[in-house]
């Protein structure tokens, strides 16, 4: 009010008209001031900028919606409010940290000053779009203290108390970018495994084909020695083929792409088939099977066969030639069938038992490197059994052999049909 009186005194020569205009002007200013006070009282105003000739003074209001302010202040994203000229009228400390400046050197300054030169044009365009179309989004990279920080800028036009402002949220998307890159790298890896396995299988197909033709010719000529030697070559080729298959299976399990072809099949027939085939190939171990009454299983016959083969091969691999491998099956409560494969081999140390079904895990011992394998077989077996709602496990003692077992639900056709009817 002092200021007003001063104006009147210095203008004592004014005419009545001049004074009237002045009163009108001052009344207008007074009304405007009242409106601002009212807006502050209602919490509609966050900050007041006073334009001076030299600089802008910004007054933020401590009292304005404290909870909301704390939330904005504490969030990880940079949050800004810009006025129509692009001046920062509010900034949280996250944005100040992002641009590596104290907060007092951010508020009141032009937003574009904080944007790296290379992005100034695109940010200016983003702002123009937001003013015209209410919102805009774009990615830029800030030169952070330690490393470059990719940032997503989201701009929204706001109407504040009849005026307009631009809210800017600056989100650090380093993690998203890294995740994207990681995903791309994984896709590349998968693609590589697919191509590599195809490329490996092609020459293997030729080798296997020629070996089998040669064996056929030797058999026709009665040269059993040569034919038997070629059978051994063929067994090794099959091992190589299985390794390639394991790598592909792991890739498919990881991506949830392993296909299961469900059918109802007789469990004992499958077990006997696999034992016969394994004995033919391994030859080093007698396999003694004690099977209970057979049951029907609903599942992927080939894959369950793959599990049994894997358990038999492991039993053979980790035990001395000539030692017996026992295969037993039993039926529990008429609705579960279990199969166990028992060897008299090197066994598994107690502290490694829980890791045995992990991917790439191989039992570590002094003789570790004398046993071949990628450490994938049991991992794949466990996945296959889990997918059939079964359980897989092992009992073992170092030096005293291992018993691997799995249990699968029995297929009850009647029950299944009733369930689907009900």
């Amino acid at each position: 009010m002092e200021k007003l009186i001063q104006i009147q005194l210095t203008n004592e020569n004014n005419t009545y008209n001049d004074l009237s205009i002045q009163v009108e002007e001052l009344t207008h200013q007074l009304n405007e001031a009242n409106e601002i006070i009212e807006a502050i009282r209602k919490g509609e105003v966050d900050a007041i900028i006073v334009k001076n000739e030299e600089k802008h003074e910004v007054y933020t209001l401590q009292s304005a919606d404290k909870a909301y302010r704390i939330f904005i202040e504490k969030m990880n994203e940079g949050a800004l409010t810009l006025n129509k000229d692009g001046l920062i009228i509010y900034s949280n400390s996250s944005f100040a940290n992002l641009v590596n400046m104290p907060l007092e050197n951010v508020i009141g300054f032009n937003f574009i000053n904080f944007i790296p030169d290379a992005y100034r044009n695109s940010v200016a365009e983003l702002m123009e779009t937001a003013w015209k179309k209410q919102e805009s989004k774009g990615e830029i990279v800030f030169d952070g203290k330690i490393k470059m920080v990719p940032v997503l800028l989201s701009m929204n036009m706001l109407e504040i108390d009849g005026g307009i402002a631009l809210s800017v949220i600056a989100t650090d998307i380093t993690l998203q970018k890294e995740t994207q890159q990681h995903k791309k790298a994984l896709e590349k890896k998968d693609e590589f495994i697919s191509i590599a396995s195809h490329e490996l299988k092609t020459p293997v197909t030729s080798i296997k084909g020629y070996v089998q033709l040669l064996r056929y010719n030797f058999q026709q000529d009665g040269n059993t020695t040569a034919a038997d030697l070629l059978t051994k070559v063929d067994v090794q080729i099959n091992k190589l083929t299985n390794l390639i298959g394991d790598l592909l299976d792991v890739k498919k399990i990881e991506n949830g792409q392993l296909q299961y072809h469900e059918e109802a099949f007789d469990f004992n027939i499958l077990v006997n088939e696999v034992i016969e085939e394994t004995e033919r190939v391994l030859k080093k171990h007698p396999i003694v099977a004690t099977l209970s009454e057979s049951k029907t299983i609903l599942g992927d016959r080939n894959k369950i066969g793959q599990v049994i083969t894997n358990l038999l091969e492991n039993a053979s691999k980790y035990s001395e030639a000539g030692s017996v491998i026992n295969v037993e099956s039993s039926v529990k409560d008429n609705n579960r069938i279990s199969l166990s494969v028992k060897d008299k081999g090197i066994g598994i140390p107690k502290n490694q038992l829980n890791k045995i079904f992990e991917r790439f895990f191989r039992v570590s011992s002094e003789k570790e490197n004398t046993y071949s394998g990628l450490g994938l077989g049991l991992y794949i077996s466990a996945e296959i059994i889990k997918r059939h709602n079964g359980i897989i496990g092992v009992e073992s003692e170092e030096g005293n052999g291992s018993t691997f077992y799995f249990e699968l639900p029995v297929y009850n056709k009647q029950e299944k049909e009733n369930a689907s009817k009900g």
């Binding site: 697919s194 396995s197 195809h198 299988k201 092609t202 293997v204 197909t205 030729s206 296997k208 084909g209 020629y210 089998q212 033709l213 056929y216 080729i237 083929t241 592909l248 498919k252 296909q259 072809h261 059918e263 016959r301 080939n302």
Partner: protein, 135 residues
């Protein structure tokens, strides 16, 4: 009908594979026509229809799946059984999608290959797990 009356067309861009499959089938007396270019099947079919076609899926510049679709869309060739033969790990799905009559995964056992081919000529109706041809 004897095996010697049966004609099998094989297309694979790998000359070794062609030789191997050709020799395996000849042990049973089948007549074999091989080509590294699957498109030759149309020339061949025009004068002398084969009884079975074995098609590689990925051949240099030619997609066996397209050839299969074309064969199945033409009156002259639509009833000839087509078997995909490939090292592709999704061969079963591909065979189903492109309505091939079966597939042989590489690498294959000589005995299995012969069993499957023989089975085509032995039964009028069969539908096994890995071989889904129903004439």
């Amino acid at each position: 009908m004897q095996a010697k009356d049966k004609k099998i067309f094989i297309a694979d861009d790998d000359a070794d594979i062609l030789q191997i499959i050709g020799m395996i089938l000849k042990t049973q007396g089948y007549q074999v026509v091989t080509s590294t270019n699957a498109k030759d099947i149309f020339k061949y079919a025009a004068k002398d229809l084969p009884d079975i076609i074995l098609l590689d899926i990925w051949m240099s510049g030619i997609d066996g799946r397209d050839i299969c679709s074309q064969l199945k869309s033409q009156e002259l060739t639509k009833n000839i059984p087509v078997l995909f033969i490939s090292a592709n790990s999704n061969i079963e799905e591909i065979a189903k999608t492109y309505k091939a009559d079966g597939y042989i995964a590489k690498p294959f056992e000589m005995d299995h290959l012969l069993e499957r081919i023989n089975a085509f000529f032995s039964y009028r109706n069969f539908n096994t797990r890995q071989f889904n041809y129903i004439p």
